[in-house]
């Protein structure tokens, strides 16, 4: 494969597809690397292969991806599917794994469009087989037409949970209950943000329509649910929770949970980009300027990977980052960059109106974020409990990296993807320090696993 590109785009979701298409239109050499088998990212997953009836069960937002994917396919951007990016550094050297072989390429400009992951919120029993993310349920549905047997329970908070319930309804999957853990008090905090949200009223209308449809179909939705607990010996058997002061129990083999989404920041961190704590979105995100530039020269971030803005916003951010990359490459002059950016800026602003409201409305309760139950495993890989982390803080360890070295929390195969945020919350709460000061785990390559054989192959490729 070619060793150098003018622009490398990592991720083929709405942000990456839009970035690559715009850049390729200007005649530069663009490569797009993505781990999935086909373009679309999370929202438009399996867009090209999905049977028509299933596509319509997913709703009209999903259909929108078709245009984006076909414009990308028609462009001159070189597309590498099933390609894992395992490293990136400040010299813009990119480590790739494709077809079992490791390669490195370099690029003058890099746009990271790695998207979001679902916010991991540890709760008692969340490691039991049968407990999965709602997004995982949606991936099975989109990509493979696979759904849970009847009687699935959905729990958590956020628009995606509602969307999945609605999509299941349309696919004829019977949902036993939807347990909404959103604290009632959020309504109060979200209220002042409502007027601005009304500027993007179509999102609110859609949400209410989903709720109405679920209600009409007789799906039981319980609000203000607390003390969620998954139970079973070697696999999930039931879900217990508090509702209106009463303990309840539902038998089920599958529980799909969702607590919102947070940026997937692994690559930006391994490249040394500065990250900040976002108090409204309750997550770490790269510090970016209005074009998506990070603190590292030539590396940009666009889409949900830079802070959660949703799929439409990701598309605009992708184009803006591409325009900046084109400007840095000397392909566009300053005035042209500004002019071409105008439309996307305007639409990005429109898209942003709904966010502060959603963030306040669906904010997860502090006791869940801080994992109140001491016995709950926070680190799924190394099996470190919330109590062990609190004990480490009591011993004087007051930042994420200290806690990591002491407890091994975050040292397993997932490299802290599933525990970093929870550890930040727990340490901040137990130490009284600000979240920003707790810091995030230091990240080292490879961010995706490589075998020794694959690394050795890389070496021989370089010395050939």
């Amino acid at each position: 494969m070619k060793q150098h590109y003018q622009l490398a785009v990592i991720g083929a979701g709405p942000a990456g597809l839009a970035a690559a298409t715009v850049a390729a239109e200007q005649g530069i050499e663009v490569a797009v690397f993505d781990g999935q088998v086909a373009p679309g990212g999370q929202i438009y997953r399996a867009m090209e292969s999905i049977p028509q009836h299933r596509g319509s069960q997913l709703g009209d937002e999903y259909q929108r991806g078709r245009e984006l994917v076909s414009a990308f396919r028609a462009s001159s951007a070189k597309y590498f599917p099933e390609t894992q990016v395992w490293s990136l550094n400040g010299r813009r050297e990119i480590g790739l794994l494709l077809q079992g072989q490791a390669h490195t390429v370099t690029a003058d400009q890099v746009v990271i469009c790695s998207g979001a992951i679902e916010r991991p919120v540890p709760f008692p029993g969340w490691t039991l087989p049968g407990v999965m993310n709602a997004g995982a349920g949606q991936i099975l549905f989109k990509a493979h037409g696979i759904v849970p047997d009847d009687g699935v329970v959905l729990a958590g908070s956020g628009p995606l949970l509602l969307l999945l319930a609605w999509q299941y309804l349309h696919a004829g999957v019977s949902v036993k209950a939807l347990l909404d853990v959103t604290p009632m008090i959020n309504h109060l905090y979200a209220l002042p943000r409502l007027p601005r949200a009304l500027l993007a009223g179509h999102y609110l209308t859609k949400g209410m329509q989903y709720k109405r449809d679920l209600k009409r179909a007789g799906i039981s939705t319980l609000h203000n649910v607390r003390s969620l607990r998954a139970q079973g010996k070697d696999a999930l058997q039931s879900v217990s929770f508090l509702h209106r002061g009463r303990e309840q129990n539902l038998e089920t083999a599958v529980l799909l949970v969702h607590f919102g989404v947070i940026p997937h920041t692994q690559l930006g961190r391994v490249a040394g980009c500065r990250h900040v704590w976002d108090e409204s979105q309750l997550c770490w995100r790269p510090q970016l300027d209005e074009w998506g530039r990070t603190s590292v020269a030539g590396i940009l971030v666009a889409g949900d990977g830079g802070g959660i803005g949703g799929a439409r916003s990701a598309e605009h951010a992708g184009r803006l980052a591409a325009l900046q990359a084109l400007y840095a490459l000397g392909t566009l002059d300053r005035a042209t960059r500004q002019r071409l950016a105008r439309n996307d800026r305007k639409w990005m602003r429109e898209e942003s109106h709904i966010r502060p409201f959603l963030e306040a409305f669906f904010r997860i309760a502090d006791d869940m974020l801080q994992v109140a139950d001491d016995d709950t495993l926070v680190c799924r890989c190394e099996e470190v409990s919330a109590g062990q982390i609190r004990a480490a803080v009591a011993d004087g360890h007051r930042d994420s990296n200290q806690v990591k070295f002491l407890t091994r929390c975050g040292m397993g195969p997932c490299q802290g993807r599933q525990c970093a945020e929870a550890v930040s919350h727990i340490v901040a709460d137990a130490s009284g320090k600000a979240l920003q000061d707790i810091g995030h785990y230091r990240q080292r390559p490879p961010v995706n696993p490589l075998t020794l054989g694959q690394l050795a192959g890389l070496h021989s490729e370089k010395t050939e």
């Binding site: 781990g35 088998v37 999370q42 292969s49 049977p51 299933r54 894992q84 992951i117 679902e118 991991p120 490691t127 087989p129 049968g130 407990v131 999965m132 993310n133 997004g135 995982a136 991936i139 099975l140 990509a143 493979h144 037409g145 696979i146 759904v147 849970p148 047997d149 696919a171 070697d234 696999a235 083999a253 599958v254 997937h264 799924r380 890989c381 190394e382 099996e383 397993g412 195969p413 997932c414 993807r417 599933q418 995706n448 696993p449 075998t451 020794l452």
Partner: protein
């Protein structure tokens, strides 16, 4: 636990799951295939030996590590089924550096 909505009319491939022969639609991931097959767990943890199963299906939780064609520590949600593939549960650390 999980079922396929459409009859898998498309081409299928033959794999084994813990030694048992199974037909799986082409293009499906190993994780999807074992979930439909009803495998109760896909790995046990190195620390306590607890059973685990796929959690995120997008490559970020590493709960779906399995031994595929003899190679341990493969994320089953990132690998597509292939004709003749041998899929096995992973016990503990697997062979770390295969």
């Amino acid at each position: 636990m999980f079922k396929r909505l459409d009859n898998p009319a498309q081409n299928s491939v033959n794999v084994t799951i813990n030694g048992q022969p199974v037909q799986v639609p082409e293009g499906e991931t190993v994780a999807a295939a074992v979930l439909v097959h009803g495998l109760p767990y896909t790995r046990t943890t190195p620390v306590s030996g607890a059973p685990r199963a796929p959690f995120c299906l997008m490559g970020v939780c590493f709960e779906c590590l399995m031994v595929i064609d003899g190679i341990a520590n493969q994320r089953a949600c990132m690998v597509q089924v292939r004709e003749g593939m041998r899929i096995e549960c992973q016990q503990g650390v697997g062979e770390l550096l295969s």
